[in-house]
Symmetry: C2
Subunit: 124 residues, 2 copies
């Protein structure tokens, strides 16, 4: 996995799993790969994976069953809330950054549209 060396790996693994859950790649109630397999998948250590999972278990996004495996919560509401929280957090972060660079709301919107436009040619 491609890690940003400015952010803790366990934190990036958490986000990686968040995205899988929110997009439905990991459906509600679905079983996650074993911690050992996950460690291989993301090229990290079991302990590091476990640290990410531990936090998600505390948040009740993941339910852990010793001997069986880790499972995505079946509480669809909490997944929806998670998505909303992530979206808002991201928007807030970008907005603050761009605003701090002296861009007005309109300029931010214009820049974003421009970015999307230029990007539409280069779908990978």
């Amino acid at each position: 996995m491609n890690f940003d060396d400015k952010v803790p790996i366990y934190y990036q693994i958490k986000n990686y799993l968040y995205h899988k859950i929110i997009t439905g790649t990991l459906a509600p109630g679905a079983k996650l790969p074993s911690v050992r397999q996950l460690a291989i998948d993301v090229t990290a250590n079991v302990n590091t994976v476990q640290r990410a999972l531990a936090e998600m278990i505390t948040e009740k996004i993941i339910i852990s069953q010793r001997g069986k495996g880790n499972f995505v919560t079946e509480d669809i509401d909490s997944i929806k809330h998670l998505k909303k929280a992530l979206v808002t957090k991201q928007l807030s972060l970008s907005y603050k950054q761009l605003h701090a660079l002296n861009l007005t709301d309109d300029e931010i919107l214009a820049e974003l549209k421009d970015y999307m436009k230029n990007r539409s040619g280069e779908h990978e």
Copy 2:
């Protein structure tokens, strides 16, 4: 200074100074506070500040003169480029994140407008 404990302090100091330079709070050619004063300002160690500055000196955004002080470059073009780079990087980052959460371009724009609208009531 309010640091995000998920990102190295020296990196956040760099961004802090980038913003001052781009918004003109630190004008082209202006003298920066001394490293010791900066350390006090941002509540960090001199070495940490120096590490941030060292990178900016390498990038030629800051010109260092031993015994005199550190100065913002007078090359306005490179400041403009810096701003453009920061804006694009931020947009790219958010876009990828939100896109990965399965939001379409239109939804991203809608969410952003919504965010700005809700925010316009609570100017701090």
